[in-house]
Amino acid sequence: MIELINYSKDFKKRTVLNNINYSFNDGTVYGIYGTNGSGKTMLLRAVAGLIVPTSGTVKIDNVELHKDISFPQGLGIVIENMRLLPNYNAFDNLKILSEIRKVATDSDISDSLERVGLNSDLKVKKYSLGMKQRLNIAQAIFEHPKIILLDEPTNALDTAGVKLVYNIIHDEKEKGATIILTTHHKEDLESVCDIILKMEEGNLYEE
């Protein structure tokens, strides 16, 4: 379980996350929608441990982030518009990332690439936007994380790609992962999320 307790974050006197109290349960898909700058991405960064709260805490399975641990273990994240190393192919990119945690095998890497429909040996710099996004998804799931954070995961994907991502989300949920995804549009979330949340000016509301 992920718990945000009185979590606030200010940047240069501007409050981007405002006293958020919310618990994300295991094995549940959460969708967060809101306009640009509403704080969606910042909330994902807060859960990922990439930002430090101005006040409040994040607990993951009762372990406090930034106190007991620096980063959640078993976390997969898709950062918006992220790109991987352009001079490597998809497999090599994931292989390099796997060296940090050393939990994924070559077979895990191949499986995840297969799941996102990438079997190309092309270097990433020759990928289309859609292929890059598929690779981003693969890097988020190949280590079988317990928490998956997806920032605009369907960006640049065609209809088939979107369906594929939703299937992956469904499969990961069945395996017990907690999934939080963000988007600008509420209608994108309805078919895939168990719980839909709205982010507005740093505040989080359940619908």
């Binding site: 990439l50 976390l75 001079n87 940090i100």
Partner: protein, 226 residues
């Protein structure tokens, strides 16, 4: 050497000192907007677990993806103070390049003590040997009051470039002749034609860097990874 150059060296060293204290991370490797060198450093970082410290500085919007990539890498780390990503667009690349070299050396020295992978050990030993060689030359220059003329400087530069290529081959990645080493040696290439004071400043900077590495290891300051 012009008085302004002394000033630049002092400011750069102080800047680095400030970074160490401000960020409180184990060691910092600056990455400038040079092609491939960025990738080499990330490659080194990823392959030399446990990760010690990384500060990605992207002055160039086309390299901003490195910031995101850095975040991705960091999100996989166990300890927060082991990695750090910051974007500093407003500082000129030339200014940072000088600081970069010294910071990178700190990073590599620290890595020396924590290397777990054989390949990386070879690379770092090679890089450090080259670095020490050049500084030995500086010491000799100072001790014997030698003055290197232009051809000697050119030869030294070519030797450095050769070793860069050698390092690239050791890394076995197809990035051509780019050059972790050249980045490291860059200030030395400049200092080589400087006088005694600049040599002393360079050595002073090295000593300060080493002390700071050990001091800053004990510190942990929390900072946002943007």
């Amino acid at each position: 050497m012009k008085r302004s150059n002394y000033l630049i060296i002092i400011i750069l060293t102080l800047l680095q000192t400030a970074f160490f204290y401000q960020q409180g991370c184990d060691a910092i490797a600056f990455i400038s907007g040079i092609d491939y060198t960025n990738i080499n450093i990330i490659y080194l970082m990823v392959y030399s677990a446990p990760i010690v410290g990384l500060l990605i500085v992207s002055m160039d919007s086309s390299k901003m993806w490195l910031i995101d990539y850095g975040q991705l890498v960091i999100s996989r780390c166990r300890k927060r103070n082991k990695a750090l990503v910051v974007s500093l667009k407003k500082i000129s690349e030339n200014t940072l390049l000088l600081v970069a070299a010294q910071c990178l050396v700190n990073y590599l020295i620290l890595q020396m003590r924590q290397i777990s992978q054989f390949d990386c050990e070879i690379i770092i030993v090679a890089v450090l040997c080259h670095y020490l060689t050049i500084n030995a030359l500086l010491l000799l220059q100072h001790y014997f009051e030698l003055t290197y003329d232009a051809p000697v400087s050119l030869i030294i530069t070519l030797v450095i470039l050769y070793f860069s290529y050698f390092i690239d081959m050791l890394i076995e990645i197809n990035f051509g002749k780019s050059t972790l080493a050249t980045l490291i040696f860059f200030p030395n290439i400049i200092f080589i034609n400087f006088d005694r004071l600049s040599t002393l400043l360079c050595l002073w900077a090295m000593i300060i860097n080493l002390i700071l590495v050990f001091i800053s290891q004990k510190k942990l300051k929390k900072i946002d990874i943007i």
